[in-house]
Amino acid sequence: MVLGPAMRLRIVVIVGFIAVWQALGASGLVYPGVAPSWLAILAALAKLLISPEFWIGFSVTAFEILAALSIGAAAGIIIGIALGMGGYVGRGLERYAHYLASTPKIVFLPLIFILCGIGPTSKIALGAFACSFPLILGVASAMRQIPTVYLSVARSFDLSRWQQARMLYLPALFRPIITGLRIALGIAFSACLVAEMKFSNVGLGSLIVGSYEHSRFAEVYAVLVVIVGFAITASAMLARLDRQLRLGSAKIRDFL
């Protein structure tokens, strides 16, 4: 098998990185144990993957993320539609949503801990709140971009509300919703894990903090490898779905 130049360079970079990492750990330049050898990290990873605590934490965190995403997405779509249809008031409120979207949602965490306690509910609440914004803004702006002509045609054909929703709004909102979901997944992911790292006794976030506090750095790296790998895979899958749906809807349009 012949490797292309890109693959060869990739391998060189990875091997070089591991070598530098090993050297850093062995050199004594950093606090001992901070850069454990990659063998130690692999061992910790293997131990992690067979430990029941990891799988419990993993399922709790996965549940939190999925719940946050479903609640946040549903609320975001509904609010987005309301803002998009809400005339002047909607326009004014959308401005607030735009600026609120850029504030660090983590500052609401103390408030959420007071309202929801420190269990998984608080993580879901923060995740849902944070991940609703891309959907609110995306859906509201897509609602406004529906050409007025379509609305007039719908009115002159006397379409019922349901027919308008099915034939006018749904096709117009489909793509922004898929794109919004992709962004929202990433946000729900970090929000839930960050909330776990601040305050919890179950879930992947608390595993990281626990290992860190006991200075078991190989374990910290192992959990991070799992989380970052999981996040990148999930986002890549949604990106592929997004692309396929775009292609699909382009084909349908051409066909029509």
């Binding site: 890109a6 005339g87 326009r91 504030t103 660090p104 983590i106 406004r144 007025t148 992911f189």
Partner: protein, 266 residues
């Protein structure tokens, strides 16, 4: 409802029409939204008088305490400095790396996927590692915010440099420009809007990163203040500092959006 939205979707002509200013649709939009928020605050005030939450008025008044005892302005300056330092270094690194990705075919082939993957990864979770390497101090916060800021800047720089219109490049060639002049006179100016929007995203991400890490590590400026007040259960002051952070980040975003528009105009 439906008719209203169709008037709005009908275009800007409705908005540019002159009239009594109070009836100008733009003002109506501002006023009605502000009215809703005020009504909510009023409802909150009533809910609070019955004893559930600190009163909004008490929250507002506690700004005096924050300014006096908690050195709100010094903390604000600290957070702002961290954001600027982080986003500034992220900007330098990001523009250089974006240029490298634009320039080297092989480099792009190897690293583009990795950069996109990193941009999608929840990098704030790496903060324990940064604590381990940089210690619990300013260096950790600045490094985290640089990492948060760098990926959009890399991607937007590369995208902008790639997207120079072929016609413009051809014009440059026909004037016999040297490659360096072609780059500085044509590619860079045409990439500027994209690079600036990358920097805008980077600044916004840096702010979120800085406040997040400050809150999580109980160190630094405004983020630490919120964590502190929550630990001490000083509710009115905590709400006030949350509002302050919201106000700061909204004005920050508005300022960089305006700056970006001003820089890309003309």
């Amino acid at each position: 409802m439906g008719r209203e939205s169709s008037i709005i979707a009908g275009g800007e002509d409705v908005f540019s029409r002159r009239g009594v200013w109070i009836l100008d649709p733009r003002w109506l939009s501002h006023l009605s939204a502000a009215g809703i928020v005020l009504a909510l605050a009023l409802a909150l005030e009533v809910a609070v008088r019955s004893g559930l939450l600190p009163a909004p008025s008490a929250v507002l008044v506690s700004i005096l305490m924050l300014l006096d005892e908690e050195q709100l302005l010094r903390r604000f300056a600290m957070t702002a400095g961290e954001v600027l330092a982080g986003a500034g270094s992220g900007m330098i690194i990001g523009v250089v790396l974006g240029w490298l990705l634009h320039r080297g075919r092989l480099i792009r082939l190897v690293f583009m996927g990795w950069v996109i993957g990193l941009a999608a990864a929840p990098l704030i979770l790496l903060y324990p590692l940064f604590l381990v390497f940089f210690g619990r101090g300013l260096a950790t916060i600045v490094a985290m915010s640089a990492v948060a800021a760098v990926t959009p800047i890399i991607l937007k720089t590369c995208e902008g440099l790639d997207a120079a219109r072929q016609v413009l490049i051809d014009v440059g060639r026909s004037f016999d420009l040297s490659p360096a002049r072609l780059f500085w006179r044509i590619r860079v100016p045409s990439a500027m809007p994209s690079i600036l929007s990358g920097i805008r995203l980077g600044l916004a991400y840096a702010l979120v990163g800085v406040i997040g890490v400050e809150y999580l590590t109980n160190f630094g400026g405004l983020g630490e203040l919120i964590a502190d007040l929550a630990d001490r259960y000083e509710m009115a002051a905590m709400y006030c500092s949350i509002l302050f952070v919201m106000l700061v980040s909204a004005s920050f975003l508005a300022a960089i959006e305006r700056l970006e528009r001003w820089l890309t105009r003309g």
